[in-house]
């Protein structure tokens, strides 16, 4: 019996641990077998190649990391031609691939999902409407409930396959549940949260911002309590599976998110802190389930019963 088995609405995960988009790539396959993971989420792709933002793009803060990469990616054509086949050759049938993508108009989102529908080896879509580092893409959608509804609705209709439609939410809003409800009402299968929080760091000698754009997205252990609160809040309001992320570095962190209502979790910044974080989290969860003689799905949302 696999005590770690979980899933989203349509995808089965052999364990609850995947990776946060943008923090992981097939490059890690030379160091450990990516099939150990519950699923893989790709870096976000856009329709056209994106050069990314002017450097400096990164700065470390206390317990966190601010990034302003700007969705650097080779575009959907080269993704489908080069990157997708590589993932297909690495991943076996037990490891679903979730493609993260973003666009600047609803029509572009729909065109992209149609292109992805024509390609094999994808089990789900994570719709990135929450990247704080690009001008037009992503976050301008993610902060507006009516737009989220319209976008999700159109994407839902454009999918003919059995693939999972996941909407990734930003915490940089007044009320995340309002956005979550819009996505669920429009027919998404599951929600991913949270994307990074807007943050900045200044060089105290010169007064210059440490990120070229001035600000970026804060991730890492520093944001975990905020992420956990958002997951808990959303899990209280909606009835779809949640893929939770935000500062997870250990299996104990992962458990907190699962108790708060997550069906699966993603490790992000911790991949840079300890490249084996994902594997360590899986091992820890497995030991926990054996020790307590339970299946991981039994504890999803348990915290809700205490409140």
């Amino acid at each position: 019996m696999n005590r770690l088995s979980t899933g989203l609405k349509k995808i089965v995960f052999k364990n609850p641990v995947t990776v946060a988009s943008g923090t992981f790539g097939k490059e890690y396959n030379q160091y450990f077998d990516l099939n150990k993971l519950g699923a893989i989420v790709t870096k976000t792709i856009t329709n056209n190649p994106k050069a990314g933002n002017h450097p400096p793009r990164l700065v470390e803060t206390t317990g966190g990391l601010i990034n302003s990469i700007g969705l650097q990616n080779p575009g959907i054509v080269r993704f489908c031609r080069d990157i997708l086949p590589e993932y297909r050759s690495i991943l076996d049938e037990t490891t679903p691939l979730i493609v993260s993508f973003s666009a600047s108009t609803i029509n572009e989102f729909v065109d992209m999902i149609k292109t992805l529908e024509d390609n094999e080896g994808i089990e789900g879509y994570e719709v990135n409407i929450s990247c704080p580092n690009v001008e037009k893409e992503g976050i301008s959608f993610g902060v507006d409930a009516p737009q989220v509804y319209e976008l999700t609705n159109k994407l839902r209709k454009a999918i003919s396959s059995k693939r999972e439609l996941i909407i990734k939410l930003t915490p940089n809003v007044t009320d995340i549940t309002e956005i979550a409800i819009a996505a669920v009402d429009a027919g998404c299968d599951s929600l991913a949260l949270i994307n990074t929080l807007m943050g900045m760091k200044i060089d105290w000698c010169s007064g210059k911002p440490m990120i070229k754009k001035g600000f970026g997205g804060l991730s890492g252990p520093a944001i975990m309590p905020i992420a956990l609160y958002n997951v808990f809040k959303v899990a209280n309001k909606v009835d779809v599976p949640i893929l939770a992320m935000g500062g997870i570095t250990s299996y104990q962190d992962a458990l907190e998110f699962i108790f708060a209502g997550a069906s699966a979790v993603a490790v992000g910044t911790a991949n840079f802190v300890n490249p084996y974080s994902t594997v360590d989290v899986i091992t820890g969860l497995k030991d926990y389930c054996i020790k307590n003689d339970i299946a991981i799905t039994k504890i999803i949302g348990k915290t809700l019963t205490f409140c």
Binding site: F24, Y28, A51, G52, P56, L58, V59, L65, F272
Partner: protein, 281 residues
């Protein structure tokens, strides 16, 4: 599939204090953790102290930090650390026997010539990668002249020509001024005259961006190919996060498919040909 271990665990041999700012961190690799191949000059390691373990990031800096190989000899790796922030402070306070995680050697090394007359130009902690480079250049029977500059006498180390901004040691002024004087035979300082008849065929450079830009301009003027070791904030070190981007010189890049406008210091570098980089950024 044969999996490599991503990081190795080394043991601190010694932290050698050079002066109030600079340190040499000497790390030995236990026999079973031997680095799979000898690092090449210009390559770097991502390192992180393990004194309190990888799982407790609050106790120190979160990320691995990149350092060029200062020296590598008989399984002992030496890194030069300039103590400028939280992470470097943690590194220079390590003591013998402390454990340290290493990822590497990473990145594209310097191209080494054979039997040539070559110039090394460094500024401040840019000295680090050129030390190991010089050893390997001498192994290749090159004649090496090294110009090194820094703000004051605390920022300079053994080299053929020393420059300080404040004149506290060696030639007063920027190292780039001495480089220009040397190449233009306008030898204001006697120590430059020694080398005025040499015919330099290659320049190797590492230092602050503004200094490297000037060295590139001089190398271009004198048509001497120059290689530069660049530095950027880094997270993964293996080309995943795209954090350590540097802007491409659109005229200088041979591969037009590189339409992404940026190169990554960790994967495409840290060593670049001068003409690959947009120095105006």
């Amino acid at each position: 599939m044969q999996e490599q271990t991503l990081y190795k665990v080394g043991l601190v041999d010694k932290v050698k204090i050079l002066n109030s700012k600079y340190y040499l961190l000497q790390i030995s690799m236990p026999a079973k953790e031997i680095i799979p191949k000898i690092p090449s000059p210009g390559q770097f390691f991502q390192i992180k102290p393990l004194t309190v373990g990888l799982k407790y990031p609050y106790s120190g800096s979160l990320l691995f930090k990149p350092f060029s190989v200062y020296d590598f000899d008989k399984g002992q790796l030496t890194l030069m650390i300039k103590n400028i922030g939280k992470a470097t402070k943690q590194l220079v306070n390590l003591v013998k026997g402390d454990r340290i995680a290493l990822i590497g050697a990473l990145g594209k090394p310097f191209d080494l010539p054979y039997r040539k007359q070559v110039l090394l130009v460094s500024g401040g902690v840019g000295y680090a990668p050129l030390y190991y480079l010089k050893r390997k250049l001498l192994d290749n029977q090159n004649q090496v002249i090294w110009l090194h500059g820094g703000q004051s006498c605390d920022d300079v180390f053994d080299s053929d020509i020393i420059c300080t901004d404040d004149g506290s040691l060696g030639n007063k002024g920027f190292v780039t001024c001495s480089l220009y004087d040397l190449l233009s035979n306008n030898c204001a300082y006697d120590n430059l005259k020694l080398y005025k008849d040499l015919n330099f065929e290659s320049i190797f450079c590492c230092g602050p961006r503004i200094m490297m830009k000037k060295v590139f301009e001089i190398s271009w003027q004198y048509s001497i190919p120059a290689q530069f070791s660049l530095e950027e904030y880094m997270a993964c070190g293996i080309g995943v996060c795209c954090g350590c981007a540097v802007k491409i010189n659109p005229q200088g890049v041979a591969d037009p498919l590189k339409d992404n406008h940026y190169l990554l210091v960790c994967k495409d570098g840290p060593v670049f040909k001068g003409e690959e980089i947009d120095w105006n950024e």
